[in-house]
Amino acid sequence: MWLTNSSIGRKVVMSVTGIALILFLTFHLVMNLVAIFSTEAYNLICEFLGANWYALVATMGLAALFITHIVYAFWLTAQNRKARGNERYAVVERRETVKWTSQNMLVLGIIVLLGLGLHLFNFWYNMQFQEIVGNHEVLLGGQNYAVHDGAGFIAYTFSNPIYAILYIVWLIALWFHLTHGFWSAIQSIGWSNDLWINRWKVVSNIFSTVVVAGFILVVVWFYIASL
């Protein structure tokens, strides 16, 4: 199977799962921005994406994407370290065109993954998971929240400045990860040339900035609202 035993095939898997996750992020952002305009509308979306069969199938698909992307990341890194050999250079200097992010995607990815763990604990565990096990309400900070009350969970989480800061750090790591990941995915599947590489880089930067700024806006909005 060329997707596992050829280097380009493995990169194709990395690229395709990466692009799918970028599309998911876009969808997630649109959903979050709704919470700023109307908490009722946001809670309707949360109800729609609760423990229904279609939402569960989509969640499983999403989990499969994440797991594939992460497993391949570690696998590729292990192979690459082996290919580098046992001796390391004593002196290494980076040229200006070589971006720091591009050489630290695994580290950034691990930060993103840790943030994701926190995020699942803050939201998914209180919402879809509680609904799956049959609970309708969750007790948080001495107050009961309905499992569909997404806006309530957002307000509760980001009223805590520590969570707000952790989420912003997480999102900044995501920004770095995306600025390289987006154009790199396109390059790996071969949709690039001397002209388009620069266009894709600009698109990556703009897209990552819009997405991350949007997420941060929601965090800051609800933190300020809690003051």
Binding site: Q79, R84, E87, Y89, V92, T97, H180, Q187, I197
Partner: protein
């Protein structure tokens, strides 16, 4: 103006492929900046030979930047601090008085050290043997205008063909990936009508040989492109991936 400089030289010494290597330090005195880095090593080797010791082994041949033999990792860069220059094209005026110059061999599992600064790059030859050619029956040469090739295609092919196969892309890559070299060798042929016939077979054969020889996976850091003495573009990598993926999808 060029002047005489004195500096500390740290050179990687290793007795053989299996032996454990280490740095040996030399004090260089009054080296004129107008000589090349390799000539400086020649001067040092002469001194070492006169002392009755083993000279430093390093690869070199044409000393004019076209053969691709020289392969020194100088001060953190393959082929030294210069841009679009091979090791032999680096002159001592690049360095300052009192500086420490560190010289290492290419470090990659695909290029094992033979001795000191010389590495075994025969893996590149094996990749070429896997498909880096056009299988045609030789005979009387046909008229040069019989096959028309657009100017931009001819130029792209020529740019790819400027790869001298020195291995600095692998040396620069944190993943020890040979994608820049392989993609240049595939592109120079696949772009032209004469090479198109075998394009899919060539891409598959050369990529699979590259993987078999233990080179790493490309993560698009662009270090190869930045360090390439011939300025080969990573657009060649995109072209190779396109060809490889479409060939695999057709299978």
């Amino acid at each position: 103006m060029d002047k005489n400089i004195s500096f500390t030289l740290k050179v990687w010494r290793q007795k053989g492929p299996k032996a454990k290597g280490s740095f040996e330090t030399f004090q260089m005195k009054d080296i004129h900046q107008s000589i090349s880095l390799l000539e400086m090593l020649d001067i040092l080797n002469e001194r070492i030979i006169n002392e009755g010791k083993e000279p430093i082994v390093f690869d070199h041949d044409c000393r004019e930047g076209i053969c691709g033999m020289c392969s020194l990792y100088v001060n953190g860069h393959p082929h030294g601090p210069g841009v679009r220059a091979t090791t032999c094209q680096i002159y001592m005026r690049r360095f300052n008085d009192g500086e420490t110059i560190t010289i290492e061999p290419w470090r990659s599992a695909g290029f094992p050290v033979i001795r000191d600064l010389m590495v075994d790059r025969s893996s590149y030859d094996k990749i070429i043997q896997a498909g880096g050619y056009v299988s045609v029956n030789t005979g009387a040469p046909q008229d040069a205008n019989a096959i028309l090739i657009p100017k931009d295609i001819a130029e792209k092919s020529m740019d790819a063909a400027s790869c001298i196969g020195c291995g600095s892309c692998v040396a620069a890559c944190k993943n020890g990936s040979a994608m820049l070299f392989v993609s240049a060798k595939i592109s120079q042929l696949n772009l032209l009508p004469q090479g198109k016939v075998e394009a899919a077979r060539r891409a598959k054969a050369m990529v699979s040989k590259m993987d078999e020889l233990g080179f790493g996976n490309c993560t698009n850091t662009r270090a190869c492109e930045a360090e390439c003495p011939k300025g080969i573009s990573i657009s060649n990598i995109a072209r190779m991936n396109r060809e490889f993926i479409s060939a695999k999808l057709k299978d």
